[in-house]
Symmetry: C2
Subunit: 237 residues, 2 copies
């Protein structure tokens, strides 16, 4: 499959590539005027077009055909996890994107803060775009604003089935059995030091079902990926 | 839980930490003579002991108590994947270790070679040890010698259930239904360019069942992690 290039605006008859996308088109794939090209906007629209002009830093494209993929309405998967540090956050975001997770919610918990000065969603956006290109996703994974754990729990929507990845979370079997039919699956993943007992209690009182994993203790990003695989698998079965 | 330190030899009444393990004990946790310490050998044995002497680069430990965990005999999970490049290999090995995979087999396929000069299992061993410490595993994940795809297939043992992560692999439902009871689960994961048609045919003729993933195209390391989650989950259910 030919490479797709990302641009956030495909609303008019022409489109512009800039930044790393233009660099890739011009200096890696060496596209020139008249070449065919495919673009996507990460919001369902993919187009084919022709390179109209190729500058040093920008590529102008005339759009020829358009297609639109609806966003998944059922079986959405949302991962709410305390952000791991450094490269582990970037890696987690890349893998969640590849695995088809719909939204990542950075969680502030008792044992983890999200430092506003160091929280750089723009950098993560580049990772999400690259991963979406890699795995041919039509919709980018959303990243929410960081949110307090208690605020998230109090705002869970009807139709969301809630899960918690925590070794000692105990809930009833009835709750776990309700997995298949939900509109959305949201999983809660604590920080390195784990959720506090109060946080677990709060989640359980909101009917969060435990996602169990045999034997080993998982890092935040590993638990997030494990949960994404299990919930994506549930949501299509 | 207190940190555990790795040493490959716990066969006698004393043990020695060296290299990064000694560094961690001496310069990060600042252990001194008389401190309690826990060691493990990655082959089932965990001991408690006391720091007997602390040099600049080595720590001598007198062992007090021993415990032994048998290796899992049923439901073993083996991932045979073409090694991804650079950091992706290291990351894959870390995550497979955390997820409890028993063995990783580096695969040579038609579209991927494993460069013998660049194949450094020793470096991966450090990653496996660190991950085993992190997730409290008693047994290290094994890394096999790189093997040709055809040689692996011709040598599949009875009791192994074989799986293939490939978008277009088609096998009978009967094969897929046999998942739960196997002694070991082995999954085959191709290189960046995918398995060739011949390779897929060979795997299917050996009764490999497809592991399906909805929608997106996964990188090698992502497919390996996805497969590990799904097979570990199958093997305990």
């Amino acid at each position: 499959m030919a490479d797709r290039f990302f641009t956030s605006d495909l609303s008019t008859a022409t489109a512009t590539l800039s930044g790393p996308e233009a660099h890739h088109a011009l200096h890696v794939l060496r596209l020139i005027v008249g070449d065919d090209i495919r673009l996507f906007d990460g919001a369902g629209t993919t187009v084919t077009g022709v390179v109209e002009s190729a500058g040093r830093r920008d590529v102008e494209v005339t759009i020829k055909t358009r297609s639109f993929a609806e966003r998944r309405a059922e079986g959405r998967v949302i991962v709410a996890a305390a952000p791991p540090k450094g490269d582990r956050l970037k890696w987690m975001v890349e893998k969640l994107t590849e695995l088809g997770v719909d939204e990542y919610i950075p969680l502030r918990t008792h044992r983890s803060v999200v430092d506003a000065a160091k929280w750089k969603p723009d950098k993560l956006q580049a990772t999400i775009i690259a991963a979406a290109k890699q795995c041919a996703r039509d919709w980018l994974m959303d990243i929410a604003e960081p949110i307090e754990f208690a605020a998230l729990i109090s705002d869970v929507q009807p139709g969301h089935s809630l899960h918690i990845a925590h070794p000692y979370a105990v809930t009833s079997q009835q709750q776990s059995a309700a997995l298949g039919s939900a509109h959305s699956h949201m999983v809660l993943i604590g920080p390195e030091g784990g959720f506090t007992d109060d946080e677990v209690e709060l989640a359980v009182s909101a009917a969060a079902a435990p996602l169990e994993w045999p034997g080993t203790i998982l890092r935040v990003e590993t638990a997030a990926i494990m949960a994404a695989v299990m919930l994506r698998n549930l949501s299509v079965s």
